[in-house]
């Protein structure tokens, strides 16, 4: 098995783990509501079925260019400032940054590089939607943007055309950054 296949399998597994963790936390917090617990278990089963059965990925193993992923931290910082600095709200921040980013291909319609920017910019904007409780500074946003950037580079051929792909990459970045900061603050001193 070559290293591209290993990276591909690890990326898919990481995304699956994040989704399962997300559902597990709902299950854990709603244990006393039988209906919600049962619904979460059903959702989990259906989710696993799709992961196994549906043709979600491209057969080839391509990587996104690093110069595309570099826009994630930039967009994340902009959205974070609009959200938490100007206090205009998370949705407004992501919407504004994403809308501006979506016009980037119009600068030069021949450029293939510019065509790839809207997705990276919108992905970064999701990181900027984080609240102050989670993201307590620009350093956190840059760290989350860095991890999400790695995620975007590795996942080019995965979950192609799936709604929510950019969101889950951003979420993975935020979760990993939170985890690292938790480790550093707990054991780093």
């Amino acid at each position: 098995m070559n290293w591209r296949k290993i990276i591909r399998m690890v990326s898919v597994f990481l995304i699956l783990i994040i989704q399962v963790l997300f559902l597990f936390m709902i299950f854990k917090e709603h244990q006393h509501f039988n209906f919600i617990s049962i619904a979460v278990v059903i959702l989990l089963i259906l989710l696993l079925i799709t992961h196994v059965k549906a043709p979600l990925h491209h057969d080839d193993h391509l990587f996104e260019h690093v110069l595309v992923a570099i826009w994630i931290p930039v967009a994340a910082t902009c959205a974070y400032y609009i959200n938490n600095g100007l206090h205009l709200g998370a949705v407004f921040a992501a919407g504004l940054v994403g809308t501006i980013g979506s016009f980037s291909p119009s600068i030069n319609k021949q450029s293939t590089y510019l065509k790839q920017l809207p997705a990276a910019i919108y992905c970064g904007a999701f990181i900027g939607m984080s609240s102050l409780r989670v993201a307590n500074g620009f350093l956190f946003v840059l760290a989350a943007g860095f991890f999400a950037g790695i995620g975007l580079v590795l996942s080019k051929s995965l979950f192609h055309g799936m709604g929510g792909k950019l969101g889950i990459i951003a979420f993975t970045g935020v979760v990993i950054a939170t985890f690292f900061i938790f480790i550093i603050t707990k054991y780093g001193r």
């Binding site: 997300f22 709902i26 989710l47 205009l88 407004f92 919407g95 999701f126 969101g167 951003a170 993975t172």
Partner: protein, 156 residues
């Protein structure tokens, strides 16, 4: 189920379907459809914060942007408005019961959207080629054939 919950479920359906429409039929691309529509909704509630109940003003923009991620799906994976609307309902239902642990995490709405979409993709009745009616007829055929097979084995 309260009126506010029903309204948020409807917002989930509208967000997903409308984004898909703007994305595919009007050819605006997934990012502009989702971000642009969400910007319009967020701007409206920013300009008119007292236009609706405080709960709805707080929750409609996140439900809309989250469900709009579902509408970013490519036609290769999902092309029926019915399925996209269903994914929107599932999204809004998960959002209404989401965990406090991940509250405020950027990308949580996208993760919810991806879960809703993958759940809809797994539904066999909806996934058999074409629309719901075709799916039901295919399912009936499968059941009918398996019954025949069982009867045959009994007869043997």
């Amino acid at each position: 189920m309260g009126v506010n919950t029903c309204i948020l479920l409807v917002v989930g359906i509208i967000g997903a379907i409308f984004t898909f429409f703007v994305n595919e039929k009007l050819g605006q691309g997934p990012v502009r459809s989702s971000a642009g529509l969400s910007l319009l909704v967020a701007s409206f509630f920013l300009l008119f914060p007292h236009s609706l109940d405080a709960y709805l003003v707080k929750n409609i923009p996140p439900v809309f942007i989250g469900s709009s991620f579902i509408g970013m799906v490519s036609t290769r994976l999902l092309s029926s408005y019915l399925k996209i609307g269903l994914a929107g309902i599932i999204f809004a239902s998960i959002y209404l019961n989401t965990s406090l642990f991940f509250n405020g995490y950027g990308g949580a709405l996208g993760t919810t959207a991806s879960i809703s979409l993958l759940v809809v993709l797994s539904l066999p009745v909806l996934n058999l080629r074409g629309n719901l009616t075709n799916g039901f007829s295919q399912l009936t055929k499968v059941i009918y054939n398996s019954r025949n097979r069982i009867n045959k084995t009994d007869a043997d």
